[in-house]
């Protein structure tokens, strides 16, 4: 499945005292895939733009927390 959230597998020390995270992920922003911004892209209304941090839906990326429902066992 294609996603803008990329993954990598960090080195895991054999002496890691904690349960290691085998896979880590990071969000890639939309401007990486847009190239040169085309003219006349659709726009948000001003009040939405201020809330979302961009005027163009093509450049909007919500940040979702990948660790929200994962139990890391550190509690």
């Amino acid at each position: 499945m294609y996603t803008v959230r990329k993954k990598y597998r960090p080195y895991i020390s054999p002496f890691d005292p904690c349960k290691p995270m085998v896979v880590k992920t990071y969000e890639t922003p939309p401007q990486l895939y847009l190239g040169f911004q085309p003219y006349n892209l659709p726009q948000f209304q001003p009040h939405e733009a201020l809330r979302l941090g961009t005027l163009w839906p093509a450049l909007y990326a919500p940040y979702t927390n990948p660790y929200e429902d994962c139990d890391r066992g550190d509690d």
Partner: protein, 92 residues
């Protein structure tokens, strides 16, 4: 320096108008950055000018009701000097 005495109605209007100014100014920031790399986008320049005008109109109206938004000669002051009246930006 003095505390402004406002009615609830005025307070509501203060935040509504300030919010609208922020929205319009954010559109201007975005268009400004966009136009730096797209200097020939005629439609966007028209939109920029339109919003600049809107921003100035909103700020003039706001300042006539609630006092100066900027100092050093960019806004007018009432008598007595109203630049240092609360609320200050970080109190809003």
């Amino acid at each position: 320096m003095s505390e402004r005495k406002w009615t609830d109605e005025q307070k509501k209007q203060y935040y509504e108008m300030l919010g609208e100014i922020q929205q319009v100014d954010f559109v201007l920031v975005e268009l400004n950055l966009y136009l730096n790399t797209h200097p020939h986008d005629h439609k966007a320049i028209n939109q920029y000018n339109e919003f600049a005008q809107k921003s100035m109109a909103l700020k003039n109206k706001f300042q006539s009701m609630f006092g100066p938004l900027t100092n050093f000669g960019n806004s007018f002051s009432t008598y007595p000097w109203s630049w240092d009246d609360a609320p200050w930006p970080w109190q809003v």
